[in-house]
């Protein structure tokens, strides 16, 4: 199984950035939710470039966290897939501790993400975790528990040369999901992490006999060039 972990694109989650605040927020009719912001224009562009970069990889499944920025990013990536893909939402893929943030109501998925086929997160989540998001004081140890649930779930469903897209966030992805995918030691996992720029791609292979291979981490080739045509896709 090959797992492509992608961080979401730039979001409007930085209140200090007044320029970002000038951009229109959610599409008309959607509720403003300061802790669950959508992507900026740049964030959408990043997701689009990431999707182009990954276009030749035929994902067997695509998952994202439940946040607006996760689903926006997944949409930008999946629009470049050559065959129809459904996006499965897993609440365990959310970012660390989000006080007061409700999951986007399923009824407005069509408004916010038109054209995207979304399988909402069940309750409990398919990973076995709760559908509700973690509290603001979530600990790193809890992140690891969530990440283990995700990895166990993926390993039950996928094997061999299956390719899986996972869109998540910087802290959860870099400090928990990738270390757990790689089976980093507990000591390392608590203090060490992988950086994750917006739409950075980290690819981990788990062989059927359990071997872990980190093919690349935080690959941002698509962002630096802004034109994927010049890139071969040998890294990925």
């Amino acid at each position: 199984m090959y797992v492509y972990v992608v961080r979401h694109g730039q979001s409007r989650g930085w209140p200090s950035d007044t320029e970002l605040q000038k951009e229109p927020f959610h599409p008309a009719g959607a509720k403003y939710e300061p802790i669950d912001p959508s992507l900026t224009r740049l964030g959408h562009r990043q997701a689009d470039l990431c999707g182009k970069f990954l276009a030749d990889i035929d994902f067997d499944a695509a998952f994202s966290g439940p946040l607006h920025r996760h689903i926006d990013t997944a949409k930008g990536i999946l629009q470049h897939q050559k065959t129809h893909k459904k996006l499965e939402i897993l609440s365990d893929l959310t970012e660390m501790g989000l006080e007061g943030c409700d999951i986007i109501p399923e009824e407005i998925y069509d408004v916010l993400f038109p054209g995207l086929d979304i399988l909402p997160c069940s309750d409990p989540s398919p990973t076995g975790g709760p559908k509700v998001l973690p509290q603001w004081d979530e600990k790193y140890s809890t992140l690891r528990v969530r990440a283990k649930r995700v990895v166990d779930y993926l390993r039950k469903r996928f094997s061999g040369s299956d390719r899986v897209l996972v869109v998540s966030s910087a802290l959860f992805g870099g400090a928990a999901l990738i270390p757990v995918l790689l089976e980093l030691t507990e000591e390392g996992n608590m203090v060490d992490f992988f950086d994750f720029q917006n739409t950075g791609i980290t690819m981990v292979e788990i062989t059927d006999d359990g071997k872990r291979i980190l093919h690349c981490a935080n690959d941002g080739s698509h962002l630096i060039l802004g034109d994927c045509e010049e890139l071969s896709r040998i890294t990925l």
């Binding site: 030691t185 060490d192 950086d195 690819m203 071997k211 980190l214 690349c216 690959d219 630096i224 060039l225």
Partner: protein
């Protein structure tokens, strides 16, 4: 201290890696006892303003008495101790050694996982970046962008 690992490669790739690293002021460039390691290190130093020559370190040399995992740990310890106080160091090593041992050791993968074949991507001429010290953090691993584009000037430095 930030450690850049550049895997040994041919002259063309080494030149691109050197140019990619030009904007990163390195305190040292170290390599082992192979010809390719030396030529790759030379290419990196060539674009460094502060450095005249790379430095061969024994820990990166072939060692038949240690396993690759043990040697990777020795290299890590040496870098941590010897370059304490330095900000940026580049280590040149064979892709296979980085991919099969050093990358996993620097990120504290378990011995069991490493012996079970855990590995890091290891294209020749690739660049990886780690924070080394009390913690280890990977900024990027196995980056080969500089090898893929027709004009390396298009690439921003790390």
């Amino acid at each position: 201290m930030r450690l850049y690992v550049i895997t040994e490669c041919d002259d063309s790739a080494a030149d691109r890696a050197g140019r990619q690293m030009a904007g990163v002021p390195l305190d040292a460039v170290i390599y082992g006892d192979s010809e390719r390691g030396k030529s790759t290190a030379d290419a990196v130093v060539k674009y460094q303003e502060k450095l005249d020559t790379p430095e061969m370190v024994s820990e990166l040399c072939e060692n038949k008495t240690l396993t690759d995992r043990e040697r990777a740990k020795a290299v890590k310890e040496m870098i941590t101790e010897r370059f304490k106080g330095c900000e940026k160091v580049a280590a040149i090593m064979p892709a296979e050694f980085f991919g099969n041992s050093f990358g996993a050791v620097i990120m504290k993968m378990s011995d069991e996982a490493i012996d079970n074949g855990a590995a890091f991507g290891c294209h020749e001429g690739a660049i990886s970046s780690f924070a080394v010290g009390t913690s280890a953090e990977a900024s990027f691993v196995n980056s080969t962008l500089h090898l893929k584009v027709s004009d390396p000037e298009m690439i921003k430095n790390f």
